[in-house]
Amino acid sequence: MSKFDPALRDEIIAAIPNLRAFAISLSGSVDRADDLVQETLLRAFANIGSFRVGTNLPAWLFTILRNLFRSEYRKRRREVPDSDGAFAATLTTNPDQNSHLDFEDFRTALDKLPPDQREALVLVGASGFSYEEAADICHCAVGTIKSRVNRARKRLGELLAIESIEDFGLDKTTRGVLIASERV
């Protein structure tokens, strides 16, 4: 005899892999991410009564996780990630190996984004939330999320353009101009 609605329980279990991926992108560490997910599950079950059945369960769970991370973050700043990067520790395959853009470069660039921009980009670009859902999760306006995602993409584009210019065959002068424009 289960204390919880089995359908709800199954839905929470189904959300765990996504919660982990989001937590890793926030915390920069697999271990801390799993602790965050655990704390999120404890909170979720303790407050299950406040969840309105039929509303967006994944968004509710993501909100709890993000709030936990934020309150912890205020206390101790994001630690320096593992030298190999958080995602590297979980990585089983190197996707798109023929790409001109090295996967390593991408992870480095993602790590350089301000946390607000990184979380917005991950929520919309990887977790599959709408701008509206992401705004609810981050407690901000839809326009703010859109602007964070745009700035994140632009910044990543700049960082990766610098990294990969030689791959695209641009000459040293153009490269210099791009690097200079990057610093404006």
Partner: protein, 88 residues
């Protein structure tokens, strides 16, 4: 470190329009938009590939164990390690 981060953020915010204009106007004609859209497509692919790699790992045992613990009748506190402590 945090001070620097905030500054970078503000700088990025302040120059966002300029930076976009620069990167399109200063790249060679024709190459600019291709390079930009190619990189934007790669960003999306890499982001999802990284994320999905974690998602594909499924639910680690520790979370299934935790849920079983939480779901046990009469176990009111998740911090209880032993069932014997709950004498019912």
């Amino acid at each position: 470190m945090s001070g620097k981060k905030i500054m970078n953020d503000e700088q990025a915010e302040g120059k966002s329009v300029t930076a976009g204009a620069l990167s399109t106007t200063q790249l060679p004609e024709g190459n600019g938009s291709t390079l930009g859209s190619d990189i934007q497509a790669k960003i999306g692919q890499h982001l999802r590939a990284m994320y999905d790699d974690v998602v594909r790992q499924g639910v680690p045992d520790r979370f299934m164990d935790l849920l079983s613990q939480l779901d046990k009748p009469a176990t009111t506190s998740a911090s209880r390690e032993s069932d014997e402590e709950v004498d019912r």
